[in-house]
């Protein structure tokens, strides 16, 4: 190589330099951008950055009243788990409960008070400030109050328990209106009615599934949607494998397999609407075979003689020997339990069926027995002042009143009758006749959309309150719900709204309801309870008690038992036994199929549809996500040449919907099933315009006794529209193809 000249050298240095500079620049370019490091002004006591804290409160996703613990990091709610010390949830929680976070951080929450710009129902709202809203409403109500027309003010809420309920009641009472009512699609009206008849007490007893050996469920999806799924789940697990060498057996009677049906050892698809009859058939066997040897045996056999197995078998389409076998098992097993729910208690024969099931329990001597029906001790504190109309009958009366212009102000809270009742009820039309509609709500659901004023409420995770689980857990219990995060928006808790309304209205309301806030009110009430129990307690005792209660999220007296178990005489039940067969709307000839709408564990009656996690959660039985479907038995589908994804028009006497078909192996031929919960016209981006709402095509019938919607008593016909629509689901081939995925074949285990 020749020696390098100076010129070359300079060039080399130049090149190297350029490279080096480039390198440095590159290094700089991959630097992370500058962030701010913002301290608190004053740090709270228990603050420790990067470490999570848990706060206990009460779940509000359904009316089971599970205690929950919420994980908080840097002031944000991160996760919801069951409260370990709460007797209902015992640290566990269902999908719905855990999705509460989606409600809290839901992008579609109402962030400020709204008023509709001009005409109602157009969904055009504009924000106003609280004072304006409250004064307008307050003055309107107070005028009525002065004119002594306060009865023209109506309050319709969802299922409200605890002291919020009392607050509502007191408010209306002081106002001078007797029209405080509740409506909740999932309210077990039929059971309550039946228990009033059979047991003389209109309460839900504690169903001791945990200790049962044979659980006979008539349509009650106790693991998915019925009353208190999480608690039943715990019980179920224990009943199955929790006891040494004693595995409880479960039998499910329902036309379409639910979660509980899938879990059951025997799944019996009796003819829809005849489940109660089956119960009577079993009862008949219990008596006639001498399993029952009570003093009133004669009355029993007399009342049941019409329901011999052969007759029942013919009516229910359940083989006679199956009835006999079931009855014997039921009688012979140490702890048997029969429960009714779901479609069984949603026919025109709802109460009759429930009574039949009660009869079964009475004959098997399950009352007050472990593993049977245990009547609750008197509740921790009686928060429900007086019986108020609950269920569809109440709505019908309200509608009538609105139609006839008897209603000037309608206050709505956390209830969505427009969605969860048939169009036949005519709520939507009637509400137009009401001059002033005020909705207390966190989301703009179908009913809220019809309001003149929308007063945004806190999510339960932001509010004070308390709750008494119903049914109880065998001993007095009450839960406290406290705000676990600072509220996100310019909202108030329902209680606070009522209190400030009271202040606006004036008169004796502010004097009687002098509490500054819901928190104060709840605290007051708890002190009262506390004093009642330990009369000689000092102030700081209560302070301790209160702090402990808040920390635990629940207070109870595990020691205190139900006291003397009431074992009512069977006479009233015997008297009430009738022929429980549901009448269906629509003739069998014209409408060949029975429509079986079912509540899903995800959406329940549709209140969960705005939570993305639940929308994304595959339906447990079908793995379908987003949107709805109609289920047919494979045989039926073959007959009609229908395949999955064919869009069917489901027509009832009340209306029709178009929905894609899904072939479902575990549904009775002649029955078509549709999930409830989708098909919202409002209710946020995740729920709106997705699927259809079967309740709209349900005929507006009731069980007279229960006064609630008979949503499982409608016949439909189906027509293949020829269109196709993908049913979005994650499942591939749902057969094992002989692969030992669910465990080695028997004998190899």
């Amino acid at each position: 190589m020749s020696k390098i000249s100076r010129r070359d050298l300079l060039q080399y240095i130049g090149a190297g330099g350029i490279g080096a500079v480039g390198g440095v620049l590159y290094g700089e370019s991959i630097e992370r951008p500058v962030e701010l490091l913002v301290p608190q002004v004053v740090p709270p006591e228990d603050f420790s950055p990067g470490i999570a804290t848990w706060y206990n409160t009460v779940c509000n996703q359904c009316s089971a009243g599970c205690g929950i613990s919420v994980r908080i990091r840097e002031g944000k709610a991160k996760k919801i788990e069951g409260n370990p010390v709460h007797p209902v949830s015992q640290g566990r929680l269902c999908a719905r409960g855990q999705s509460g976070l989606n409600a809290l951080y839901n992008p579609d929450r109402i962030r400020a008070p709204l008023t509709n710009a001009g005409q109602r129902g157009t969904g055009s709202f504009h924000p106003i400030d609280w004072d304006e809203a409250l004064t307008t409403i307050g003055s309107r109500i107070s005028r009525l109050k002065i004119e002594d027309d306060a009865s023209r003010v109506r309050l319709l809420t969802g299922r409200v328990r605890g002291h919020l309920d009392e607050l509502f009641a007191q408010f209306m009472d002081l106002l001078g209106s007797q029209h405080y009512q509740q409506y909740d699609f999932t309210n077990p009206s039929a059971l309550l009615a039946a228990n009033r008849i059979s047991f003389g007490t209109e309460q839900l007893p504690y169903y001791d599934i945990k200790n049962a050996d044979l659980l006979l469920s008539f349509g009650a999806d106790y693991l998915g949607t019925w009353i208190s799924p999480v608690h039943h789940g715990l019980a179920y697990g224990h009943m199955r494998q929790g006891r040494a060498a004693r595995r409880g057996k479960t039998v499910q009677v329902e036309p379409r397999m639910s979660l509980s049906g899938a879990a059951a050892d025997e799944w019996i698809a009796a003819r829809p609407g005849t489940e109660g009859l089956l119960a009577l058939g079993l009862a008949h066997v219990l008596v006639s075979d001498g399993h029952y040897s009570g003093s009133d045996r004669a009355e029993w056999s007399n009342a049941l003689q019409a329901h011999s197995p052969s007759v029942v078998s013919a009516a229910t389409d359940v083989p006679e020997d199956k009835i006999l076998q079931l009855a014997r098992e039921f009688a012979s097993s140490k702890a048997s339990l029969a429960i009714a729910g779901g479609a069984t208690t949603a026919g025109t024969n709802a109460v009759a069926s429930a009574v039949a099931v009660n009869a079964l329990n009475q004959l098997a001597g399950n009352l007050g027995q472990p593993g049977g029906i245990i009547f609750n001790a008197d509740q921790a504190f009686s928060t429900s002042p007086d019986a108020k109309p609950v269920g569809m009958q109440g709505i019908l009366d309200l509608v009538a009143a609105m139609e006839s212009g008897e209603v000037d102000v309608l206050l709505l809270h956390d209830s969505n009758p427009v969605f969860s009742l048939p169009d036949g009820v005519g709520f939507r039309e009637a509400i137009d006749k009401v001059p002033l509609v005020v909705a207390l709500s966190s989301f703009r659901d179908e009913t809220t959309e019809l309001a003149d004023f929308v007063l945004p409420t806190n999510i339960y995770l932001e509010s004070w309150g308390d709750d008494v689980p119903d049914p109880g857990v065998g001993f007095p219990v009450a839960s406290i719900s406290q705000p676990v995060v600072a509220k996100l928006y310019d909202t108030l808790s329902a209680g606070d709204i009522i209190l400030s309304l009271a202040r606006q209205i004036g008169g004796e309301l502010p004097i009687q309801m002098s509490w500054g806030s819901m928190e104060e009110f709840v605290r007051e009430r708890w002190r009262a309870e506390f004093d009642k129990r330990e009369s000689d307690a000092a102030e700081q005792d209560f302070e301790e008690f209160w702090q402990a209660a808040i920390a635990a999220g629940v207070w109870g007296q595990p020691g205190a038992t139900a006291g003397d178990q009431l074992v009512p005489s069977a006479a009233s039940t015997i008297a009430a036994i009738s022929d429980p067969v549901s009448e269906f709307a629509g003739s069998e000839s014209e409408y060949p199929f029975v429509l079986h709408p079912f509540l899903t564990a995800t959406f329940l009656d549709g209140r969960g549809a705005n939570l993305p996690w639940l929308q994304e959660l595959p339906d447990p039985m079908t793995s379908v996500v987003y949107g709805s479907w109609v289920e047919l038995n494979p045989a039926t589908a073959d007959e009609l040449g229908i395949e999955e994804g064919d869009v069917l028009e489901v027509v009832s006497t009340a209306g029709s919907v178009r929905v894609p078909a899904l072939i479902f192996p575990a549904i009775r031929p002649g029955v078509v099933a549709m999930p409830v919960g989708q098909g919202h016209e409002a209710y946020g981006r995740y729920a709106t315009d997705r699927g259809v709402n079967p309740i709209h095509i349900v005929a507006a019938q009731m069980d007279a006794e229960a006064g609630d919607l008979a949503w499982a008593a409608t016949r439909v016909k189906i027509r293949n529209t020829g269109e196709r629509m993908q049913v979005v689901k994650i499942g591939g081939v749902s057969r094992t193809l002989g692969r030992q995925i669910l465990g080695p074949a028997d004998g190899h285990a």
């Binding site: 990091r73 697990g237 929308q615 595959p618």
Partner: protein
């Protein structure tokens, strides 16, 4: 020289490079308790920042669910039965996914966990091909949360970017916290029940049990010995760390 070579070879022959584990995290799932309620699925989504993928992407099988319930029908109406089985990463001790990853983005750690390092992953997706349980989920897109849903995201778990593989970690962040506490408590071992993954925690029927199977006293070790116990696809010899208990008959 030769000996070291032999050692290396031995090490390589064991996918995880570990002959025994400090802890051997193991899960049992009792199918006789499992009701398919899917509480675990949501629990996992909440704990591990799983994205909300949306209907369109679901329709094309782009969902991400670290634990999913599989459904199998047996028989036909009226004698039809449904079998649920939760499928999550089985944390195999001889995991095919570990050997195939060209960049060691997935490896066996000293706790017998089959871990996935998101930062290292280049997205060849070969691990998903090799995994017989199909529990590895790929980020086909960059997923976003509608404001303010992102406030729920768990700060202990990183949000994965598009192009990387992700999967169940047995809630390693919870294991990490438990170990951290144990270490402060004069370096004792983590006690049974101190670590509870989100899915196990939520399960209403207590079908799932999680623990260290190195500890014979741990509940999970006892459950594993149950005569109903089996492992899914055991014949493939991936030695999974999830033991299922077969559904019992009435």
């Amino acid at each position: 020289m030769v000996s070291t070579f032999v050692e290396k070879l031995k090490a390589y022959s064991k996918p995880g490079y570990y002959d025994e584990f400090e802890y051997h995290w193991t899960m049992t799932i009792d199918l006789d308790r499992c009701t398919g309620c899917e509480a675990c699925v949501v629990a996992c989504q909440a704990e591990n920042n799983l994205p909300i993928v949306g209907e369109k992407r679901y329709a094309r099988n782009r969902e991400i669910k670290w634990i999913r319930i599989e459904r199998y029908w047996e028989g036909d109406y009226p004698d039809v039965k449904m079998g649920f089985i939760p499928i999550l990463c089985q944390h195999c001790d001889d995991a095919p996914c570990e050997t195939v990853c060209p960049v060691f983005a997935t490896y066996h750690n000293r706790d017998g966990l089959n871990t996935q390092v998101y930062n290292r992953c280049i997205g060849t997706r070969s691990c998903a091909i090799y995994c017989p349980y199909e529990v590895r989920y790929f980020n086909w897109f960059t997923y976003t949360w509608d404001e303010p849903l992102e406030q729920q995201l768990n700060p202990d778990v990183s949000v994965r970017e598009k192009g990387v593989m992700e999967k169940c970690t047995f809630c390693i962040q919870r294991i990490r916290i438990a170990k951290d506490n144990a270490k402060d408590d004069d370096k004792r071992r983590v006690r049974d029940g101190e670590v509870v993954p989100a899915c196990v925690q939520s399960c209403p029927t207590e079908a799932m049990v999680f623990g260290d199977s190195n500890d014979p006293e741990a509940e999970v070790s006892k459950k594993m010995k149950n005569e109903r116990g089996y492992k899914v696809l055991e014949e493939l010899n991936t030695t999974p760390s999830v033991v299922y208990l077969k559904k019992a008959h009435a």
